[in-house]
Amino acid sequence: MKIIVCIKQVPDTKGGVKFNPDGTLDRGAMLAIMNPDDKAGLEAALRLKDEYGAEVTVVTMGLPKAEEALREALAMGADKAVLVTDRVLGGADTWATSTTVAGAIRNLEYDLIITGRQAIDGDTAQVGPQISEHLDLPVISYAKDIKVEDGHVIVQRQYDDGYHVVKAKMPCLITALSELNEPRYMTPGGIFDAYDTEVTVWGRKDLKDVDDSNIGLAGSPTKIAKASDKVRKGAGEVKMDLDADGAVSYIMGKLKEKHVI
């Protein structure tokens, strides 16, 4: 079985968003990590490899620095890595990103493609399903359990009110929830091997069946009209030195003042 896992390197927004003195986001001060949903997708692929035997190829699109995320994936147990990087691919929205990644994947053999549900920087959850459309594959989004059986995947597909157990013929694409599993750590041997493994680097010319009008900023149907760091609601009052009784009467007072009670 050949499995492709699509990953993205993202700034870590969890538990430590850094701001500049002027209140804007300090992206430089934030750690670059492998996107959590993607890491769960990679772990799912590695578990399928452990159980059934598989070759796992990780693919990312990004700046040359995104190679770090690929090295981490290799150290966790992935077999091959592909970095898609090219200046002309920059500024892509989800449409242009998905056409690009699909163009890279067309060069590879696969039975199964796994992506994360969404990245913590964009939060769109669009690229996975869009890749599946470009490659004309069945898609199962929001997977919280994946099994392989006789050329098919059997997936628990999460919904707002429960889940469906869904069966699809391979090749197909699955988007993974971070709830799917607890990703393994890199092993020292894995880290050592990871730096011996060559990362394949592809640019624009290596993409298969992709039109120039569908890549990068120019090929993105959506355009940013305005972007700003969010204006946060101003702080109200904070009472520091009240004992429990004082705190209760303070809250009671506010609830009465606002006609809640």
Partner: protein
């Protein structure tokens, strides 16, 4: 074909088990405003099996037309037949705007359809309005009018971007449940019903549903609650949520929680507020033992009144709370419940 041939605001009327979700009505409410600005009308796309009877409800919430695709292949949600139905409607009727709920269904269907009809899709929008793109005239660049301007948070709620889709149609957006306002239903309102069936030919993309598991809950939907008593990691244990429940009971509220609480297994996911949970805007939001990380704030900062209780005076929750108290929730919350019992009958 020219972009100006695309007309009308279309809404995906999501139904599950032949019951329309609140999101369908919320989208209709927003669609009506947009349609007014564009001097056009509102069409609901109703997809399912045996669902025609739901059309009147959509009319009462603002649909001028309802396109019904009624087919056994659409009985339970599956990406391919639904994407095929919606993409066929778009190709046939050429709407200028398509709105889809940012639900576990819509966030799968929207991207698949947008890729099929080759247009842009903006995810999880919180504000939709009609305006110019670019916002201000730029010499040498045509300024297009009557564009859908879609505003959405990104970066875990840290930044906000307004996005347009000037050169492709339809302009597509997904919208988070709980953000747009539905209209007061107009009893007896009728819409023009259009039956449409693009034909369904099952192939490998028509995945097979082996089993449907409903995770039944006795809990009230936190998005409908007027008062939320929300707990975070600081509550300390599953058992200790009882003091929040007691407070909620006496004040007529509902208990909700932060992601850390769900991750610890103390509370079910459906009670989670925040970026990866639900967006709420109750009249009163008690944030108890919640540090208020940006991901949590993104889901509750539109609440009318935020009251925070936390022992850590540096907790970010105090930056968005209207009223904050630094102190021990285990002492304050039970006392507050007792005091409320005296005044609330």
């Amino acid at each position: 074909m020219g972009l100006e041939e695309y007309k009308g605001v279309y809404v995906f009327a999501q139904q599950v088990d032949n019951e329309l979700g609140g999101i369908a009505f919320e989208l209709l409410g927003k669609a009506k405003e947009l349609a007014k600005d564009l001097n056009t009308d509102v069409t609901a796309m109703l997809l399912g099996s045996g669902i025609k009877g739901l059309a009147d409800q959509l009319a009462e919430y603002g649909a001028d037309k309802v396109i019904v695709v009624d087919d056994p292949e659409l009985k339970d949600y599956r990406t391919e037949p639904y994407a095929h139905a919606m993409a066929s409607i778009i190709n046939e009727y050429k709407p200028e705007i398509v709105l889809v709920g940012a639900t576990a269904i819509g966030r799968d269907l929207g991207p698949r359809v947008s890729a099929r009809v080759a247009t842009g899709l903006t995810a999880d929008c919180t504000v939709l309005e009609i305006g110019d793109f670019p916002l201000n005239p730029i010499p040498g660049q045509e300024q297009k009018h009557n564009q859908l301007l879609m505003t959405r948070p990104a970066f875990g709620g840290n930044t906000i971007a307004t996005i347009a889709c000037p050169d492709n149609r339809p302009q597509m957006a997904t919208v988070r449940p709980g953000v747009m306002q539905k209209i007061e239903p107009i009893a007896g309102a009728k819409a023009e019903i259009i039956d449409y069936n693009p034909g369904f030919t099952p192939n490998d993309k028509y995945v097979e549903i082996l089993e449907i598991v409903k995770e039944v809950s006795n809990t009230v939907d936190i998005m409908d609650a007027k008062i939320l008593v929300s707990g975070g990691r600081g509550v300390g244990s599953k058992e200790n949520f009882q003091i929040l429940q007691d407070l909620a009971d006496v004040i007529g509220g509902t208990v909700s929680c932060s992601r850390a609480v769900v991750d610890s297994g103390w509370m079910p996911k459906e009670l989670q507020v925040g970026q990866t949970g639900k967006t709420v805007r109750p009249n009163v939001y008690f944030a108890i033992g919640i540090s208020g990380a940006i991901q949590h704030a993104a889901g509750m900062e539109e609440s009318d009144i935020i009251i925070a209780i936390n022992k850590d005076e540096t907790a970010p929750i105090f930056e968005i709370a209207d009223y904050g108290v630094v102190g021990d929730l285990n002492k304050i919350v039970p006392k507050l419940t007792e005091e409320l019992k005296k005044v609330v009958k």
